[in-house]
């Protein structure tokens, strides 16, 4: 009885998030423009081979898009006084968080898929192993959307503060993840640090599937993404429950 109610609630919350938050300027700026500008700044005018860096760029797009919706929702709702009402509906903190994750994951999945398909058609890039790419898409969007929800956990009712904090967390993860310097070229301490970023495993999955240059191996990459998803999810539930009344 309770299990279907839990998922019904999560789907309703996800639907509400899609309607309201996809068109918010911070999602557009931090989810779409930011990775595009990063790519342009890094790639343009340097004569780099697109096929070599494309997996990293795709992973970065997926990372930014999937993790850009989550940080916005809770502070926005606390500011607009809708969060308390949401808590009084037949929902739990868990179903609200799952709804936020689903909305973020869907956003990341859809935008990244459009970029993937467009890139394949325009630049004739190799598609590689479609099953690995699909698994990477699914697990990557869910893990990073969960990270986005975890980043919404501070008690602030000011969306701009949370978005700044989320950028502060996400940017270092980009720089240590083997996007700008492929993991195979990193050595020693740099490679050890790269393993701390969840994005590293997604980049490695795409590199392996598209270019055959993966270093870690798809099974380990997928397991690592799953572990990060569970870690971020547990953190989001713990911190959002702890901070539930703050900012109301």
């Amino acid at each position: 009885m309770v299990l279907p109610l839990f998922f019904q609630g999560a789907l309703a919350v996800a639907g509400k998030n899609v309607r309201i938050y996809y068109t918010k300027p911070p999602v557009f700026i931090f989810g779409l423009l930011f990775p595009l500008f990063l790519f342009i700044a890094f790639f343009m005018g340097r004569g780099l081979a697109l096929s070599r860096f494309y997996p990293g760029f795709l992973a970065m797009t997926l990372f930014f898009t999937a993790s850009s919706v989550g940080p916005l929702i809770t502070p926005w709702e606390k500011r607009d006084r809708t969060y308390e009402r949401l808590l009084s509906y037949p929902l739990t903190i868990g179903s609200i968080i799952l709804g936020d994750i689903l909305a973020g994951a869907l956003f990341g999945f859809a935008i990244s898929l459009v970029i993937l398909v467009a890139s394949l058609l325009i630049f004739s890039l190799p598609v590689g192993d479609p099953f690995i790419v699909l698994a990477a898409f699914l697990l990557g969007t869910i893990a990073f959307a969960t990270l986005g929800t975890l980043l919404a956990s501070p008690a602030s009712d000011t969306p701009a503060t949370v978005m700044m904090l989320s950028t502060l967390v996400r940017l270092p993860l980009i720089f240590i993840s083997g996007i700008f310097i492929p993991l195979a070229d990193l050595g020693g301490a740099a490679q050890a640090v790269a393993y701390l970023s969840p994005l590293t495993y997604l980049v490695d999955l795409f590199q392996g599937a598209m270019n055959g240059t993966g270093v870690i191996g798809p099974a380990t990459d997928l397991a690592a993404l799953l572990a990060y998803f569970l870690l971020f999810g547990a953190g989001a539930v713990y911190f959002q429950r702890r901070n539930v009344m703050k900012g109301l």
Partner: protein, 305 residues
């Protein structure tokens, strides 16, 4: 079966005990008014009863369902109208109502028709497809009411539902409360408006410093806690209240062009006032004697007189 049962609820925030061992039962079909001064624990209590907060100790049952062990079925029995309308301004009125219907588990086929019908009842049929951000406060509150009653809840919680509304919206809200009550819903209402509580509620609870200080029917509370009576008098010209001095005149409140004189002996006070007016040559425009008031009872219970 009681609609709301709370047993020994306690909730602390750090060293502050916001709700202290509160036990309360609201029977099915009642309109229960919950009054208290600012910071008395009203909002914390309503948050506990609606499942927004969990108590440190104590149990809550809504329509017989334990809120702690079965929160989702228990919450489906409730409708909540918060103080600050709390509707999504980026959604249209109809989208807000259908979202609420979906969250309360209404079948998709019923949601839209029920939402349209409710919006018509609430006087918003022609604004149904407009975003709520363009609405006035009263209109947002009507959307909020629609969200709370779309599933025809067994128990309706209202937190200051008429606070800051104009006369039309206030009447519409109180009319809707009465209608929901007539249709069988139990109503739990917090308000600062004592007249509203007096005219709407079948029973009243007064909370003070986190403790439920009194619970009874409004008339019983008045008779028990307000042993004084009042005279409301208006003169044809403005009179300084300080000119009145009589052992049976306990207190004088200026209320617009009227003076409300609290007395323990209306007969002597009326005779004194009439004699004073006659002596000073001042015409009395109106004079009424009033029985014990809920406001005086509230002040006596909360010790704020």
């Amino acid at each position: 079966m009681p609609a709301i049962e709370a047993h020994h609820l306690t909730r602390r925030f750090g060293s502050i005990t916001a709700v202290d061992d509160l036990t309360l039962t609201v029977e099915e079909g009642e309109i229960f008014g919950f009054l208290g001064p600012n910071g008395a624990g009203k909002t914390t209590t309503i948050r506990l009863l609606t499942g927004v907060l969990t108590p440190d100790t104590g149990t809550i049952r809504i329509a017989g369902i334990d809120l702690r062990t079965d929160p989702l079925p228990a919450k489906r029995c409730m409708g909540i109208i918060p103080e600050n309308s709390a509707v999504y301004s980026d959604l249209t009125a109809i989208q807000n109502l259908t979202l609420a219907g979906r969250l309360y588990g209404l079948p998709a086929a019923d949601r839209n028709a029920r939402a349209r019908s409710l919006l018509a009842d609430l006087g918003l049929a022609d604004r149904a497809d407009e975003k709520v951000r363009t609405f006035s406060k009263g209109m947002k509150q009507r959307v909020s009411i629609g969200c709370a009653i779309i599933h025809e809840p067994a128990v309706l919680f209202l937190d200051e539902p008429t606070s800051g509304l104009d006369v039309q919206s206030r009447r519409l809200v109180t009319g809707m409360i009465r209608r929901m009550h007539d249709q069988g819903s139990t109503v739990f209402l917090t308000t600062h408006n004592i007249d509203e509580a007096n005219t709407l509620c079948t029973r009243i609870g007064i909370i003070n410093r986190g403790i439920l200080a009194a619970t009874d029917r409004p008339e019983i509370l008045k008779q028990t806690f307000d042993t004084t009576q009042s005279i409301e008098i208006s003169f044809a010209r403005e009179i300084d209240p300080s000119v009145f001095s009589h052992p049976n005149v306990l207190r004088i409140d200026q209320r617009g062009d009227k003076l409300r004189i609290v007395t323990d002996d209306p007969d002597r006070a009326v005779k004194y006032l009439a004699a004073w007016a006659d002596r000073e040559g001042v015409r009395i425009a109106s004079l009424n004697t009033l029985g014990p008031s809920l406001e005086e009872a509230f002040l006596a219970i909360t010790g704020e007189s």
